[in-house]
């Protein structure tokens, strides 16, 4: 038990911080409840997938600056494919768009492996390539989304026999998020590939000498990142009902949540739970700042300051623990 707590101290701390924020939110806004939580999860969705994409890549020792552009490209592709089509056609669109995401990520990874140019340079270049491609697909925001897909993210889950007082707190968007994350991460954690991703992020040479195929593992990590970016692009299209070719503010937010979530930018450590909780924290802070009617020009300063303070506090605690 103590071993579990020690190993997951950071994530437990984040949960505690989130809980404290919820209490604070209730104090500021006494009628904040299930509806507010539902809105929070809807706001979290695109950020959560962006941070999931970044997490896999960062654990593998890389960084992907093209995540927001990949989200824009997959979002407009989905919106264009669903525009003017029947509702059932969307069943085909979802896997096609996810596959596109895998392909985009794999291209990023392959370019890095083949060219041996640093990740940050290649993905910065690809940021512009994917953004330009998104504008080619759709010049101005437009397209459409199937109604049944849109409704997947709206409202709450009804479970027979469970009172609505409880199910009101289970937004569909949360179920979608957890299922999508679990489908990829649970098998990944248990697989040889998952172990290899941690290995190449931790020590490239040691991984190579232990028989890990470093190049293929890196490409796979970027491809999984692309898959999550495509999920992010899809939820953007589903929540707004349109595709927008100009990337949203997801790149920097993904890096911020990765750091806050306890994943070292040097690679090899951390998990997915921390960054996802970090996204919830950052979005709830945004809600609180809105409830408090804080000067909008100050809110971004507050958001940045919270990040710095939390990460510094964490580093301080880690140092102390090492000292004792």
């Amino acid at each position: 038990m103590t071993g579990f707590v020690k190993r997951n101290a950071w994530v437990i701390g984040l949960f505690a911080l989130f809980a404290a924020l919820v209490v604070l939110t209730r104090t500021i806004q006494p009628d904040y409840g299930a509806a507010g939580f539902g809105s929070l999860v809807q706001a979290v969705l695109p950020f959560a997938f962006a941070v999931a994409a970044q997490t896999v890549v960062v654990i593998a020792g890389g960084i992907d600056l093209s995540i927001a552009s990949m989200m824009a490209l997959t979002s407009v592709t989905a919106a264009v494919l669903m525009d003017g089509q029947t509702e059932s056609f969307a069943i085909l669109v979802v896997p096609m768009v996810l596959l596109l995401g895998v392909l985009l990520g794999a291209i990023n990874g392959a370019l890095i492996v083949i060219s041996r140019v640093p990740d940050i340079v290649v993905t910065l270049a690809m940021l512009f390539v994917w953004q330009g491609t998104a504008l080619l697909v759709l010049e101005t925001p437009g397209g459409a989304a199937a109604e049944w897909l849109k409704s997947l993210l709206v409202g709450t889950v009804a479970i027979p026999g469970v009172p609505t007082a409880i199910t009101d707190w289970i937004p569909r968007a949360l179920v979608v998020l957890l299922v999508c994350l679990a489908v990829v991460f649970v098998p990944l954690y248990r697989s040889r590939l998952g172990l290899s991703i941690y290995a190449i992020g931790s020590n490239n040479l040691a991984a190579f000498r232990s028989g890990v195929s470093v190049g293929w593992t890196r490409i796979a990590a970027y491809a999984i990142g692309g898959l999550f970016a495509a999920m992010g692009g899809l939820v953007l299209t589903l929540s707004t009902g349109i595709g927008a070719p100009i990337p949203g503010p997801y790149l920097l937010a993904s890096v911020a949540a990765v750091v806050l979530g306890g994943v070292a930018l040097t690679g090899g450590t951390g998990g997915i739970v921390g960054p996802i909780v970090a996204v919830f924290i950052l979005r709830l802070v945004r809600s609180d700042l809105t409830f408090l009617a804080v000067d909008p020009n100050v809110t971004t300063i507050v958001e940045g300051a919270i990040m710095v303070v939390v990460v510094m506090l964490g580093a301080l605690l880690a140092l102390r623990r090492r000292a004792t």
């Binding site: 809105s39 809807q42 706001a43 925001p141 009902g241 349109i242 927008a244 009617a293």
Partner: protein, 343 residues
């Protein structure tokens, strides 16, 4: 022990933050959502909203979500405003369709929604907007007439996909159809960003292609700057009534041009309409359009209008029409102070 020493100031801080939250009396609370930050027009809109809320005397507090974000981010802001329990929301939409879901949730919750500047598709929302199609038509028609109905025009649009931009495109195309001798030599989206617009025109000037006139979607004074700096011929420029451009029309030697009014103070009109609806006076139509005017520096009449409108005391990126008759009641000092109720 060490722990509590660190925690105590933190908790006190949180307690102060909670206690200092605005107390809700009997006046209204109005939420504001805007997704372009750091643009003079939008800043004037926000200041007009604050000034009108203060001048009306009916608003206790404003809750302003004002940042650079996309439609999904505006959905988040709107839902936060709904959860904050505001009485009305004044929104400058990032997309006419993309934020429909949250606008519907707001009106379902009994919140009055007023879209300013640009239209939204959601039928339950009220709209107070400048007539953007007419804005473009007036300026383009004047420009094409100046050129004698013949020549190559650079068409510098706003932000791709914004409904104000697509409406202006309709007006521009309508004028273009009336003057078959005019060709659009170059068409770009400035994104309503000054630096981007200036770079784009400098790049085009560098190609050496002939330019007979420039129509801008309000990124205007930097275009004149670029023309002057590049040392080429000054061609006629059409812009908006931004203080810097209006000043240039009077001061830059040899510059012919026209400013079309597009008041950022429309935000104040949005507050007025929202308060009227909250007080039970619904407008006869869901959409209220404010008509633009054109001030040119070619005729004496136009010059007089420009001179009367010019206001060097304003920020060069601010539209000079800082008030809208019948819709705003604040003073110039109030909008420049940019303070809302309780600030």
């Amino acid at each position: 022990m060490t722990k509590s020493r660190h925690l105590l100031p933190l908790l006190t801080g949180a307690a102060i933050a909670v206690l200092s939250a605005p107390a809700f009396a009997d006046g209204y609370t109005i939420g504001v959502s805007n997704t372009v930050q750091g643009n003079g027009w939008r800043e004037e809109m926000i200041c007009a909203i604050k000034a009108q809320a203060l001048a009306s005397g009916k608003v206790d507090s404003l809750n302003i979500a004002h940042r650079n974000t996309d439609a999904a981010g505006q959905l988040e802001d709107l839902r936060n405003l709904i959860a904050a329990g505001v009485d009305a929301i004044v929104v400058n939409p990032s997309d006419p369709a993309g934020i429909g879901a949250a606008l519907k949730e707001a009106t379902d919750a009994g919140i009055v929604v007023v879209a300013v500047d640009q239209a939204v598709n959601e039928p339950t929302a009220y709209i107070v907007s400048n007539n953007q199609e007419e804005y473009a038509y007036l300026g383009a028609k004047w420009l094409f007439e100046q050129l004698g109905g013949k020549g190559d025009v650079v068409y510098m649009r706003g932000a791709a996909g914004a409904s104000a931009d697509s409406d202006r495109d309709k007006g521009f195309k309508r004028a273009l159809a009336e003057y078959p001798g005019i060709t659009v030599a170059h068409e770009v989206f400035t994104g309503w960003q000054q630096d981007q617009g200036k770079q784009q025109i400098l790049d085009y000037i560098a190609t050496g292609a002939p330019i007979d006139g420039i129509w801008t979607s309000g990124i205007d004074n930097v275009i004149v700057d670029a023309l002057v700096e590049s040392g080429g011929d000054l061609v006629p420029v059409v812009g908006a009534d931004n203080a810097g451009f209006v000043g240039q029309l009077g001061s830059v030697e040899g510059l012919k041009g026209a400013a079309v009014t597009n008041p950022g103070s429309i935000g104040g009109a949005g507050v007025t309409l929202a308060l009227q609806i909250l007080d039970g006076q619904k407008p006869s139509a869901q959409t209220v359009l404010v008509q633009p005017e054109l001030w040119e520096n070619v005729t004496d009449d136009g010059k007089a209008k420009l001179k009367a409108a010019a206001d060097p005391s304003l920020d060069p990126e601010w539209p000079v029409s800082i008030m809208i008759p019948d819709w705003t009641t604040y003073t110039k000092d109030q909008i420049i102070a940019c303070k809302g109720p309780g600030e």
